[in-house]
């Protein structure tokens, strides 16, 4: 404790009423955040009760606490709750509600936040629920990106749990008139130093804790990681039951009273805008209520989605295609190529080409807005709720505190959720029409008006002798079309260039690609490379027509991943049969999530490596839907194995880290199989 007071000084038992118990705990520091408590009352919130972990270590030997506590009655408030910090609430049944403050996109952050808090709170895992925070600066930075949500908050969340536990322990110790330092906890229970008395968390809350909780930043985690029973245990995502019943409410599933549905005719070119359109034809579609100009586009507002879509078709917009109407991706690529530098003597150099890529989350961009006099509520799938709030605030012309941004679960996003065009559109349309508005983007809207992973040329050079890792020169500046964060960002092309060139150097020097990497790389890299090589049977024979390739990358320099792939050619197409992944992400909070993120990252990377880039002709995206911007399908899914290279350092992040190594690993395997060196994505033989 750093408060200058002993725990005992905080505690007094203030009264005993009717044989019951009222515990008053005085703890120094801040109280619960009013901001959060009030905003949590409004709007939709996703609340989930956690299923039991698949395994949770040895069976709990703790007996139920009822036997020990039946001698005392607790006539306190059965509806009582305590909120030791903005992140956690404990109710009179012993239920724990954790507030997730980062976006859930399937990467498991809601579950991970709950696991870490529950561990240090010593909560019963199956009594933990998760609520989703709206945009609220009380949570600090709420941007979900960079695979940082666990690594940035691991210690904080442990402290949150420890601080909440401290309140409960202090309450019990006060009731028993013992030193809280001599009490211990078992899941959901405070145990008397003598071991014969027990008070459940629910009983303590019901009895009434008149407490100010300790400041989270002044409480140290108490648990030895060797004693963790939740962290490190494979745990199903807390949202899985709702997903399986189709009960998860995504943005596009939200309906408000009086809500109307809008789709927007968008100029196919970047930077163009409407010239003429047939308003009457759109309004003639039954169910269409309004036609509204929104920026460079024209919105059709209707009583339901289908009417809005039909109305949009009827608009027959004539477009001013704007200044980019002659832009092509080939032209952009040539501009980049003109900047390519010559490779110096004694060096091996090569240029690797990356096209534009789209996010292509299955859930398209969507937002719902309800602008009222003096206030505005927004629902949107966002990775940056406070950024969405800023967009809504500006669009509505309202002060920030009058704008509430709710954060439904996100149907993938992979970086797309940092940008909020639909929020601006929905707010403006709600303001103009006076009705709550859902702005729906079709798949074509989503693919053709994305913020794309930038087209780039990555020039790699390395000593011809193989004495050092390649260095990378990036030619990607000044894209005329919108670009943005895409899962693993620049790590993806960097890994493709560097890890391809290492293999080129290895081949030029007659060195095994694994051996060269082991010579050039540090101990962190070597551990995962050696593991992936060993698990994959590197060096052993394969069936005819197959070959292996390896690549390694440390995304953001923190999580070390090596992947070995096995490929063949089938009818001139590259087929990936197996991917063996070794990952060092420090402490593994949820092993099942780490596996899932590696599997998913590999699929994401394979889609980029093998399927379609985004191409530009006449200033517009050529691709329009999943028929020409293909995702890796089920029947091309390789067998993926994930191996943990355990280290005890703090967790380092996993959401993006599986993506970068797989494309160069496939290119390297194709070289091993055919002698062809593929330096452009998507890979084509």
């Amino acid at each position: 404790m750093t408060t200058g007071m002993t725990r005992r000084e905080f505690i007094s038992v203030s009264s005993m009423v009717g044989g019951g118990l009222l515990v008053t705990v005085y703890l120094a520091g801040c109280s619960a955040s009013e901001t959060v408590m009030t905003t949590m009352m409004a709007g939709t919130r996703t609340t989930t009760t956690l299923p039991p972990p698949t395994t949770i270590g040895p069976p709990e030997t703790t007996p139920t606490t009822q036997a020990e506590t039946t001698t005392t009655t607790y006539p306190g408030d059965p509806n009582a709750t305590i909120r030791p910090s903005i992140y956690v609430l404990i109710d009179g049944t012993g239920g724990v509600t954790v507030t997730a403050f980062r976006a859930e996109m399937g990467q498991g952050i809601r579950t991970a936040i709950a696991m870490i808090i529950a561990e240090e709170l010593d909560a019963e895992w199956n009594r933990v629920r998760v609520e989703q925070a709206p945009a609220d600066p009380a949570f600090g930075d709420q941007v979900t990106g960079g695979s940082l949500s666990v690594s940035d908050h691991y210690q904080l969340l442990r402290r949150v749990g420890a601080a909440a536990r401290q309140v409960l322990v202090a309450a019990a110790a006060g009731a028993w008139e013992v030193d809280p330092a001599e009490c211990r906890t078992e899941p959901g229970v405070v145990v008397h130093p003598g071991g014969d008395l027990r008070l459940t968390y629910g009983e303590l809350v019901t009895a009434g804790i008149d407490a100010e909780a300790p400041r989270v930043d002044r409480v140290e985690p108490w648990k030895d990681p060797a004693q963790f029973r939740i962290i490190g245990t494979p745990t199903p995502l807390c949202d899985a039951p709702e997903h399986g019943r189709g009960a998860t409410v995504y943005t596009n599933d939200i309906t408000l009273p009086g809500m109307r549905y809008a789709v927007i005719a968008r100029c196919p070119t970047f930077g163009g805008r409407f010239l003429e359109y047939d308003r009457a034809a759109a309004l003639a579609v039954q169910g269409v209520t309004d036609v509204v100009e929104v920026g460079p586009g024209v919105a059709v507002v209707a009583d339901h989605t289908w009417a809005a879509l039909q109305g949009r078709d009827a608009l027959a917009v004539e477009w001013d295609l704007g200044v980019l109407a002659d832009t092509t991706d080939e032209g952009i690529r040539q501009e980049l190529a003109d900047r390519t530098r010559a490779t110096g003597s004694g060096l091996i150099g090569a240029t690797y080409s990356i096209p534009y890529f789209a996010h292509a989350a299955l859930e398209p961009v969507c937002a719902v807005a309800d602008v009222q006099p003096g206030g505005c509520e927004v629902w949107t799938a966002t990775q940056d709720p406070q950024g969405a709030r800023d967009v809504a605030r500006r669009a509505a012309g309202l002060p920030g505190e009058s704008v509430v941004v709710h954060t439904p679960l996100v149907g993938g996003k992979f970086g797309r959720g940092h940008y909020h065009e639909a929020v601006e559109e929905a707010v403006r349309l709600s303001q103009i029409t006076g009705a709550p508005i859902k702005v729906f983007w079709t798949r074509e809207d989503d693919l053709r008006h994305d913020r794309y992973h930038p087209m780039s040329l990555y020039q790699a050079t390395a000593p011809a002798s193989g004495s050092a890792r390649p260095t990378i020169q990036v030619n990607s500046a000044g894209s005329p079309i919108p670009t943005g964060a895409w899962r693993s960002v620049q790590n993806f092309p960097t890994a493709f260039a560097r890890e391809s060139l290492i293999d080129e150097v290895a081949a030029a020097n007659g060195i095994d690609p694994v051996d060269l990497r082991l010579q050039l790389m540090d101990a962190d890299a070597r551990r995962v490379i050696e593991r992936a090589a060993a698990e994959s049977g590197w060096g052993s024979s394969l069936p005819g027509g197959r070959a292996r390739g390896i690549a390694y990358h440390a995304t953001f320099g923190v999580t070390h991943v090596a992947e070995v792939v096995e490929v063949s050619l089938e009818d001139g197409r590259i087929r990936v049969h197996r991917v063996v992944c070794a990952v060092d992400c420090g402490t593994v909070v949820n092993p099942d999530t780490v596996r899932a993120q590696m599997e998913g990252g590999i699929v994401f990377g394979l889609t980029a490596a093998l399927k379609d880039g985004i191409s530009i002709e006449h200033g517009a995206v050529v691709q329009s839907n999943f028929d020409d911007y293909r995702l890796l399908p089920f029947d091309e899914m390789p067998e993926v194995e994930v191996h943990f290279v355990g280290t005890s350092k703090p967790p380092t992040g996993v959401g993006e880290m599986g993506v970068p190594p797989v494309a160069p690993a496939v290119a390297n395997a194709v070289f091993a199989l055919t002698g062809m060196r593929l330096r452009s994505l998507p890979l084509r033989v």
Partner: protein, 151 residues
């Protein structure tokens, strides 16, 4: 507008909606059954898959007023989310973001209803038209195997 009659999840539903409205939008916007998802609108991603008389159908490609069979959506697949396929999905921790999973589950359930013990080629033929950007295919394969073994 047309009066549309549908049997959905065992209930007879009568409502006024535009003639030829896709079943997807009828379910979502007129009947409030939002478990069925829009993904592409052209019948190639499978997110909108429902059952019509027990067979998988792409609801974005079927006009609601042309449907004469009994429609089952993810909300009606089981009373408590305990269909063998749903249970297998939980056991294998399939879902990530979850958005495509109603279509995956409905497709798998239709497959197993017609082919209780599908071989690998039958599984691939049924499932390859349902896209997942999160990359859950390996777990879907395991879950289908589990559900086939349990049913």
């Amino acid at each position: 507008m047309a009066q549309i009659r549908l049997n959905v999840n065992g209930d007879d539903r009568i409502f006024d909606a535009p003639a030829h409205i896709p079943l997807l939008w009828a379910l979502r916007d007129f009947l409030g059954l939002t478990g069925t998802k829009y993904g592409c609108g052209i019948g190639i991603c499978g997110a909108c898959t429902v059952h019509v008389d027990g067979r998988a159908a792409r609801s974005c490609q079927v006009a609601a007023d042309q449907v004469t069979g009994r429609v089952t959506t993810i909300e009606g697949l089981s009373a408590d989310g305990d269909h063998p396929v749903q249970q297998a999905w939980l056991a294998e921790n399939v879902a990530q973001c979850g958005y495509c999973q109603p279509g995956q589950i409905m497709t798998a359930a239709a497959l197993l209803a017609g082919t209780p013990r599908p071989n690998e080629a039958e599984v691939e033929a049924a499932m390859s038209g349902v896209l997942c950007r999160c990359g859950t295919y390996q777990r879907i394969r395991r879950a289908i195997g589990l559900a086939a073994g349990s049913s």
